[in-house]
């Protein structure tokens, strides 16, 4: 089958309309933006930093952070650079901007100015416009990325890339299904095609920009094969539009061996599928997210969860780890709490970076198991789309052949129920319409029966609920009380 990049005419037509949707978009020149990007020193380029980390076997640390006002946001980032020892910086975007509610964001900025504290849960980059973004990116010395959760991120991408950010998170599936309710998947995939094409244009003009599909999805009991399938699809779609630096992500599941198997299989699968799609010229790196589900409120316990994520990130050779803070269960962290999460992670990363993980035969078997599962899903996607991966993805979500647990989107089937087995591996309890083969499902069912037997209760929905609360209540497998 064949595919083409989004053609320049269509791109320009969309672009013209897009830039008119909010005042800060008006008059944005791509040439000027590219020229500006070229003035940014290599030491601040995200793609370069990721590739170097991968070559040197390092795990880079990145927090999440964003507040409403520019001076506060700069202060926050600088604190995370110095006191937090962060290697990479974020700019987390507020939830109004994520849903293109720029008027509400403006209101949030105004109320934050009044209240002298941020009432927004992130940095409203579109409202602050290109000059505001440049103020931020120029004030820091580390590579900096836009992190968000935006189904239609086209304007955000235009403004932030012109604003000097060198990496952009998200994808048409991962920033829709877990983040939105009513956005059609076809629309978000199309809109992200624009973002990827924009990135491709930068690349073609000699500006290296990193792209990172959002690995963890809903952050809640997501079996590795599901997030892997999404990562592979979004990776392929990005490479098609000319993206060169791609970072695939995965959110910690909790069991050491499942997580390491997931990280190993993610890398191996990506190369396999990318090659199969005809791509050879790309830089693949990985990111591991510390526990993305509910956290314990007690800070000493939260440190433990952060540390465990940090250990597994290093042991699995992630090129980057996304760091949580001891405030996670309660609210957006203060800069101090955020820096504590970073320093805790830093200590772990440096204690463990020299340690090679010795993979056993049984462990290798779990790696193969994940690959088998991913193959089931990807085969279904390709076949439902008659070889067209976009159409196949949309059809797969519609049919529930690809299904993300606990997601809010009405375009998600929402029938799959994951559950932990007796060792804490996330397995599938109810597959819904997931395109898993019978032998794969038999394996999952055996594993879950093992747990049911150990707990002296039937495999049931109660276990799912217990598993969701487990880590925040101190545990991994939600045992009966």
């Amino acid at each position: 089958m064949s595919f083409n990049k989004l053609d320049m005419d269509t791109f320009n037509q969309i672009r013209e309309e897009l830039l008119g949707t909010w005042p800060t978009g008006q008059g944005l020149e791509l040439e000027e933006a590219i020229a500006y990007q070229k003035t940014i020193p290599e030491s601040k380029n995200f793609a370069v930093a990721m590739q170097r980390a991968s070559k040197e076997g390092k795990t880079l640390l990145q927090p999440r952070a964003g507040v409403a006002l520019i001076p506060d946001h700069i202060e926050l980032l600088k604190y995370l650079e110095t006191e937090g020892e962060a290697d990479l910086l974020p700019t987390t975007i507020d939830a109004y901007t994520r849903l293109n509610r720029y008027q509400e964001a403006a209101n949030g900025i105004a109320r934050s100015l009044e209240a002298k504290t941020s009432l927004l849960n992130g940095f409203p980059a579109v409202n602050h416009g290109v000059p505001g973004c440049r103020q931020v990116t120029e004030a820091v010395s580390k590579p900096i990325q836009v992190r968000h959760g935006t189904p239609d991120a086209r304007l955000l991408a235009e403004i932030t890339l012109a604003g000097g950010f060198t990496s952009f998170e998200g994808g048409g599936i991962s920033y829709n299904i877990p983040y939105a309710k009513k956005v059609p998947l076809k629309k978000s995939i199309d809109d992200w095609r624009y973002v990827d094409r924009l990135t491709g244009i930068y690349e073609e003009n000699g500006v290296h920009i990193n792209r990172e599909p959002f690995g963890p999805l809903t952050g809640t009991l997501v079996p590795p094969f599901i997030s892997h399938a999404v990562a592979l699809i979004e990776g392929i779609l990005a490479l098609r539009e000319g993206v060169k630096s791609i970072t695939l992500g995965y959110g910690q599941a909790g069991n050491l061996f499942q997580d390491i198997a997931a990280m190993i299989s993610l890398r191996e699968l990506a190369h396999e599928y990318f090659l199969r799609e005809g791509f050879e010229d790309y830089e693949l790196t990985t990111v591991f997210h510390q526990w993305m589900g509910g956290f314990p409120e007690d800070e000493a316990k939260a440190f433990s969860v952060i540390s465990w994520g940090a250990s597994v990130a290093v042991l699995s050779n992630a090129d980057k780890v996304i760091v949580k803070s001891p405030h996670e269960a309660m609210g957006i962290p203060t800069k101090e709490a955020n820096a504590q999460g970073l320093r805790c992670t830093r200590q772990m990363v440096s204690m463990l970076r020299d340690q090679k993980f010795l993979v056993s035969e049984d462990h290798r078997e779990e790696i193969e198991q994940i690959k088998r599962e991913v193959k089931c899903i990807m085969d279904a996607v390709y076949s439902l789309g008659n070889g067209d991966i976009e159409a196949g993805t949309i059809a797969a979500f519609e049919a529930g052949a690809l299904d993300i647990p606990f997601a809010p989107s009405m375009y998600n089937h929402g029938k799959i129920l994951p559950m932990r087995d007796n060792d804490g591996f996330i397995r599938v309890f109810n597959k819904g319409n997931l395109a898993l083969s019978d032998d794969v499902m038999a394996y999952h069912r055996d594993k879950l029966e093992e747990r049911a037997k150990a707990e002296g209760r039937k495999v049931s929905f109660q276990m799912v609920t217990d598993d969701i609360y487990a880590i925040s209540k101190g545990g991994l497998v939600g045992r009966p009380r």
Binding site: A95, E104, G108, L119, T218, G294, G331, T334, F406
Partner: protein
């Protein structure tokens, strides 16, 4: 006793769906008839659903930090629409940043919410309070 109707949802542009699914299951098992609007629910949608289902309580969640902005004015709008006596419960991570709960509670009580809950609240306790509160409203009405 017929199960009591309640409306449930996550307000504003908030996508956090996990707690919402758990609350739906929990309150249903606790004997309520739950009308769950899911995530990203506007004040209008809450009010319309309460009117349509003849619910005597609205359970508002806000997790993502914009609770202070999103929740303001709901009480006034309920009164406008004739829902004079409706119970308003609100819970979750209601403000931006880790904040002493007493402070959060005060803020939302002032906004006209009847009860305010942190993310750590015991759902059993909430269900008890809700039964009681609904009962005493009924008695008042009689």
């Amino acid at each position: 006793m017929r199960p009591k109707n309640i409306v449930l949802g996550v307000i504003g542009f908030d996508c956090h769906s996990v707690g919402n699914k758990i609350l739906e299951t929990f309150f249903t098992e606790a004997g309520f008839k739950v009308h769950n609007l899911g995530v990203m629910v506007s004040q209008e949608e809450f009010i319309n659903a309460a009117i349509e289902t003849n619910s005597k309580a609205i359970m508002v969640s806000s997790l993502y930090g914009h609770g202070e902005i999103d929740c303001a004015g709901l009480r006034e709008r309920c009164i406008e629409k004739g829902l004079d006596d409706i119970l308003l419960y609100v819970g979750g991570n209601l403000v931006v940043g880790k904040t002493p709960f007493a402070q959060v509670e005060e803020k939302f009580l002032k906004m006209g919410y009847d009860r305010v809950f942190g993310p750590d609240c015991s759902l059993e306790h909430v269900a008890e309070l809700l039964h009681q509160d609904l009962l005493s409203r009924e008695e008042k009405e009689d």
